[in-house]
Symmetry: C2
Subunit: 215 residues, 2 copies
């Protein structure tokens, strides 16, 4: 059985949980606590799974994969049905670009380790940290909205009538935005698609509050 | 002919230039200056090409693509030879993970707009900004090194004997690391592969100093 090294609140793990559920792939969840004891992901035990010490990692038999987007692309290649990417190269590029708008332009800047650097090494206040967080989320989601709103390929989901990699990234990012009280009134298409996705069992089962390690 | 909206020093544009050259695809370079007049990429003219205002964008007939990794995946699907990804799903996942170690974990945190926020909104010193920059590059490249060093799939290049997406991301990141005097003595495999890549004309022709808009 597939094994997912996960943390209930990790946005990157949340993406992969959605992808696994959309593909009806059963998996064993192995929780790795990102906060307790300075972070279990940085301890030697987990470094043996993923030397970079990042969550998630997916073990498929003798193979261990990391980087959430690479894991989802792998799942789409190794377990093709239902697909997480459309068949046409131009459409695939659009889906990947939306996913990367989130995974490259928003999430890394607001990662736990970056926030820790702001308040630790740089001695910034909690208020400055939260302003930073909201700045990048609100700006980044505006770019996603510009890509989605009024585009003929946008459908019930980010691309057409079936969930794709883009939706797997969108929902965890909106979850984080709500958790930290970011503005969302400027991104109505993002909000509409997020709500649409969360009606599906694959998304609901992947939500942080429904994980075995939820607090 | 393909058109690439590019800036000589943009690391993401540099990746795509390498990929285009590796595939022997001729393209017209349309320079977009990221610094002059507060950034041409943020003006209305360029927003019509890419609403997110990010460099690079690639126009292929009536299609305009953005996000460097999505562009490179598109090129690999639309113009398959020579491939930028190996055929096997596990190997593809490894190549993509290395590319994402750079494109998600290092580059976004040190993007121009992030550095501007540090010295602008947060009022940090030039010295604090550079310490930030080096911290994330040195830490991030250490994670890449851990993935490459001693791994049986690492060859002349990041994965085997042919350049892949991973090398397209590695070389621009090492270029940036050198430009800002980051430590590299802890990442000998990264340094060795970077040197190997730069002996190839496809990489050399894509280098910032060889662009029409180089300063």
């Amino acid at each position: 059985m597939l094994k997912l090294y996960t943390y209930f609140r990790s946005s990157a793990a949340y993406r992969v949980r959605i992808a696994l559920n959309l593909k009806n792939l059963a998996y064993e969840a192995i929780p790795v606590h990102l906060v307790k004891d300075g972070g279990e992901h940085l301890k030697e035990d987990y470094r043996r799974v993923n030397p970079a010490g990042a969550i998630p990692a997916l073990a498929d038999r003798d193979l261990t994969l990391s980087q959430s987007l690479a894991i989802m692309e792998y799942l789409d290649e190794a377990y093709p049905y239902p697909p997480l990417l459309p068949p046409d190269p131009a459409a695939r590029a659009r889906v990947r670009a939306i996913a990367l708008d989130i995974a490259c332009e928003i999430h890394p800047i607001n990662n736990l380790r970056v926030l820790k650097y702001l308040t630790g090494q740089l001695g910034l206040s909690e208020e400055q940290k939260m302003a930073w967080y909201r700045h990048w989320v609100e700006l980044g989601l505006a770019a996603v909205e510009a890509r989605l709103a009024g585009h003929s390929a946008t459908g019930r989901f980010c691309h057409g009538e079936h969930p794709t990699l883009a939706d797997c990234c969108l929902v965890p990012q909106v979850f984080n935005a709500r958790r930290f009280a970011c503005r969302l009134d400027h991104v109505p298409t993002v909000v509409r698609i997020d709500a649409e996705c969360r009606t599906l069992p694959a998304f609901a089962a992947a939500a942080p509050e429904n994980q075995p390690d939820a607090e």
